[in-house]
Symmetry: C2
Subunit: 212 residues, 2 copies
């Protein structure tokens, strides 16, 4: 496990930069200034220059960043310029739903295996993947060089699944169970939280008719 | 619809501030400086002071922000200090999965109605909610004062659902369908994207064994 050189907050902003840069590229925009990026993302330009300076000196004063070059650089930094195989444990509603997104996962990142601890689920076919038993986890992670694990089991089972992922050699985990999970140092865990999206939406609803 | 006074990017950062502040409060921390917030969120303190200054002068030089007061203030700004009813359209895997999160949705925000355009789904009970037909959408939104809509239908049906939500008087939409949706000005739409989480996780995987 390499030591991360940039902070988690910056890493989390990179896909956001990437999405906006990809939009620019799709619109044939060749260069972008830190001012323009700042306006779009409402970060001050100094913050953006600082974020991007972690990776070398991309920008050119008075011209800005080359959009295509910056996209390639961020893809390389995020390591999404290579194949990354993902496993998912929990063939319930959320697991099935996420595996549907496989077709939309760009950048060579794919869910290639689905596991479930309940024998009734094993053998079921979900989006062309046959649900495997947890006994097959270690061997499959090894054979398929799976690097990232997604947890979509109930909260009560999430820690056990995380332990199994760690044991199998998974390096990073995306946890959808609404519970805090502990992993050893060196293993990365992110908690997916759609409630944050809902909370920020509430800001935009109308005040007027709420006054009761 | 009121005119939003603060930018989308700031609104999106508020729930992140809120989560960290809630952790601090749970640990009996009474005050926090913009420096500490900055370190945790890897934003520069000036950015944080600027974000929070949108809502008045909370901070006191040398003492920092009162954690409880800041939490209440952000809750009030985000309007999550009141009841907000949410409707969901699409009783498929993702819709079922999200309605499971109801128990974890804090701050009085609840999914109170589920709809589906397919008659086979109507009447099914999901987490104590009986799936309703789309014909009942307008009346239910009205009766239950539903303000936010969640879309969990396939991409091909998402625009139609958004149009129905707008027609029913929904003010904000959280779209999980992997497709860009158009809504009239004054209606807020956020696109949920779990792929961003996955992309930022890729940064943390080990380089060494990838060199082939």
């Amino acid at each position: 496990m390499k030591t991360p050189k940039i902070s988690e907050a910056v890493v989390r902003r990179l896909p956001v930069y990437l999405r906006f840069l990809s939009e620019l590229k799709a619109n044939n925009v060749l260069t972008v200034s830190s001012q323009d990026l700042g306006l779009k993302l409402d970060l001050n330009p100094a913050q953006i220059r600082k974020d991007l300076a972690h990776f070398g000196e991309f920008g050119r004063k008075g011209i800005g960043y080359d959009v295509s070059y910056l996209i390639e650089k961020i893809r390389s930094i995020l390591k999404i310029d290579r194949v990354i195989n993902v496993a998912l444990v929990g063939a319930g509603n959320l697991g099935r739903a996420l595996s549907n997104y496989n077709a939309y996962l760009k950048d060579n990142m794919k869910i290639v295996a689905i596991f479930d601890a309940h024998s009734g689920k094993v053998g079921e076919v979900i989006n062309n993947l046959s649900v495997q038993s947890m006994e097959e986890l270690n061997a499959t992670v090894n054979q398929r060089s799976i690097r990232i694990g997604i947890i979509t089991v109930p909260a009560s089972e999430a820690q056990v699944v995380a332990d199994r992922f760690v044991d199998a050699g998974i390096e990073a985990i995306l946890n959808f169970a609404p519970v805090i999970i502990k992993v050893p140092q060196g293993i990365r865990i992110h908690h997916a939280d759609f409630t944050t999206d809902l909370l920020s939406l509430a800001y935009y609803i109308d005040d007027a008719e709420e006054q009761v």
